[in-house]
Assembly symmetry: C2
Homo-oligomer: 456 residues x 2
């Protein structure tokens, strides 16, 4: 049976596959920082070349931002599309990294070997699990198992400004029977998962201006408006004492989960003590009366991701600053309308401004939540294939993060997305010392070989 | 009459005096930033040499921080001490400066020529007004008018950690009949001032820690504690809706001003509209029911001077940060006890912490407010001398800033401080584009010559 030969090939080729991933990880393709624009280009070129080595007809497509990589190979059976992103998060604070984030290495840890470096888990390592599965398949069988379109983005970590126009323009080339997306996680080390619920994301940055310039707090303090105080008051008012978000209309379209789903989630016996304990916490800090998995998967949130104002250096400076700003993100569920919430949030902030203050808003993207159709028999086939690879059977799960691409496939090309990934909660994505377990990489490649076998 | 000759000498020597000040301003003696330690030393050396050129026996005295400069010259009549500081504030944000802050220049402006550069007004330019007055006096009369001790500090902008121990150690050398301090301002362009009320200062930095590391807000948001939200809530709770500060016991020892002083302040016809208008504001933002001068001179304050947490770079990063911090300063009046307030503030913050959060405090200095005795006839003599130089008569005023040295003279050497300065509200001290009006410098030097004449 050819699957066994493919799996054996994956096992024997793992050292070479790891070297290829390390090469890709060395390219600092930080999409949100213009200083790394050329590196994003280099990463795209690297992928084009790698796809071409598989016999895929691949090319880099310019956009107003970072390029897209598209490739296609013909074949019999279903037409699959695979999506991943080659851009990575910024690395600051750099001093908290134990190694150069772009000098990745395989490290031995008490929990086993890990691939350490920015992008190892999000998303270069995940992206390569599928590419390596294809490489092994081709090495054993001389061809890929079916028609496959590859679609790699370089702006996922910076709000994907070019994505929708590009997908609209290449709608036909991006149509497929199923869109495989590898940017999610396992449920835990033993339980693989297909993610079928995703929260949406609304990103807002606000800058409050009070005085026209920085003032001496001794000379003006007590009489002049302080924008840090104004901003703090606004942030403090975004949640009530029970943890509910106070933006008017925010909960419009937020559904309660079904009894059936609740029962399935309860059956997962999620250990929120361990989940929080891993990051030095012990108690849930969200809405009163909600379970941990509800908070993480099915309830909307409002979080402050950054705040800045006045003197932030060493020592002390008695400045009364002109400006203060914050980056705020909302995770959305159900039918919440990101554009209506943006408008309501901005109105709420503007209404709270005291005299002599102004506010500027900067839009950092808006996407609706998604709940995906799993009626296609491909889902049960894929779930079975995943269950064959891992210790415990695969689960359909929710995900707190936002993967807007999934909704775009539904809305633009009419393709059902299937989200399979091998990340773990402790991968430290978006944080210093990001890693991807060697087990995730190895079993991830094997998982895709099994899924390809099951779907074709 | 020798005073006229001294004033004439000051007028003719002004270009050379300006060049000397520019030379001192070129030394980037930022005391709060260890990177500029050698520059603080260089500034101290420059002053020692300049004092020596006046025949003053001067030396640099090492401290655990930046050095003190002390000089003494014997003479008849009263023994005066003069205090100034040679260190300057940091310059960030550098991009808001129209020129290199340490490449000072005389610039023509619509309001007349100004000396532009970091430290021009605070305090190098002010310090040099007295030194230049002495230089002119010596040039005309061959000697200074009386015994004078010069005392220059290099840590005023960084909390003066070495000051009290140094003054205790050199108590005898620093004893004098009157301590002249030049680090305050005019009441306005026409009205010179002797400052007789100063607010105290308590500086606190707090860092809230929630999770043990930065988290992905999609993965943890809604369930994990966010320290920026905790910090914002604490800051928002420091004032009530009427602008009063809520730290328990904060108003203990805050006096109401006397009817007499209130009448005098009312007589100054302070134009708070113009004061705020200069910095883009229109309305007083302090305690309800208090006048502008009360807010600025006689009421205590609590201001946030800086806030920081999470991702502050360009673009967006959905991080849920481990830490958030703020720098907070309290201006104190009357008998408020800075140490009791520090304790009460820290307890209030600690009591507000939700589960899983910890707080670290960093002490940035504490000084009591001062109200200085003006019964010595030297005050009326100095007030008359200042009135002779400026268009309108001099006033006794309050000052929102904190000049702890004044209290140290009272408490450590038993010397009455007399605070005379020539800064203006629009000097942008502690801000980008700091300047000192050429008029302040020129008439400041002339004022000191008149004061020296009046006191001796």
């Amino acid at each position: 049976m050819s699957l066994d030969a493919v799996l054996a090939r994956i096992d024997s080729d793992l050292p070479a596959a790891t070297e290829r991933l390390l090469e890709l990880l060395r390219i600092p393709s930080i999409s949100t920082d213009p200083a790394f624009k050329a590196d994003c280009d280099t990463a795209a070129d690297w992928l084009v070349k790698d796809l071409q080595s598989l016999g895929v007809e691949a090319a880099k497509h310019p956009t107003p931002g970072h390029p897209m990589v598209m490739g296609h190979i013909a074949g019999d059976g279903p037409h699959l599309l695979f999506y991943g992103h080659y851009d990575v998060q910024p690395v600051d604070p750099l001093k908290l990294w134990d190694r150069d984030p772009f000098d990745p290495q395989v490290e031995d840890t008490p929990k086993g070997p890990v691939i350490r470096g920015r992008g190892a888990a999000d998303d270069k390592g995940q992206l390569m699990t599928f590419v390596e599965a294809c490489r092994a398949w081709k090495a054993v069988n001389g061809a890929l198992p079916c028609a496959i379109t590859f679609f790699f983005e370089g702006e996922e970590e910076s709000g994907s400004p070019s994505l929708i126009p590009f997908m609209e323009e290449h709608k036909d080339a991006l149509k497929a029977d199923l869109a495989l997306i590898c940017d999610t996680g396992l449920f835990d080390s033993r339980v693989p998962a297909i993610t079928t619920m995703l929260r949406g994301l609304l990103g807002e940055e606000l800058t409050i201006t009070g005085p026209s310039k920085d003032l001496h707090s001794g000379m003006y303090g007590g009489a002049a408006r302080n924008p840090i105080r104004v901003l703090s008051k606004i942030i403090a008012s975004l949640h009530d004492d029970t943890g509910r978000i106070t933006v008017p209309g925010f909960y419009d379209g937020v559904p309660e989960i079904s009894d059936e789903l609740r029962a399935q989630w309860d059956g997962l016996n999620f250990d929120h003590g361990a989940f929080l304990g891993d990051v030095g916490l012990s108690q849930l800090a969200g809405e009163e009366g909600r379970s941990a998995l509800e908070m993480l998967w099915s309830r909307p949130t409002c979080e402050v991701n950054g705040i800045s104002g006045g003197y932030e250096g060493d020592g002390f400076k008695t400045v009364l600053p002109s400006k203060a700003s914050a980056k705020i993100s909302f995770r959305l569920v159900g039918d919440q309308d990101p554009f209506a919430i943006r408008e309501s949030f901005r109105k709420m902030v503007t209404d709270m401004l005291p005299p002599d203050c102004s506010v500027e808003f900067h839009d950092h993207g808006a996407s609706k939540a998604g709940q995906f159709d799993t009626s296609d028999p491909a889902f049960e086939a894929a779930r079975q294939a995943l269950s064959d690879e891992w210790p415990d059977p695969a689960a359909y799960i929710g995900c707190g993060g936002s993967i807007p691409i999934a909704g775009h496939f539904v809305n633009i090309t009419g393709t059902t997305p299937m989200l399979i990934g091998f990340g773990k909660d402790d991968d430290q994505i978006h944080s210093p010392n990001e890693k991807y377990d060697m087990e995730s990489f190895h079993k991830g490649i094997r998982s895709w070989a099994r899924v390809l076998d099951a779907l074709t």
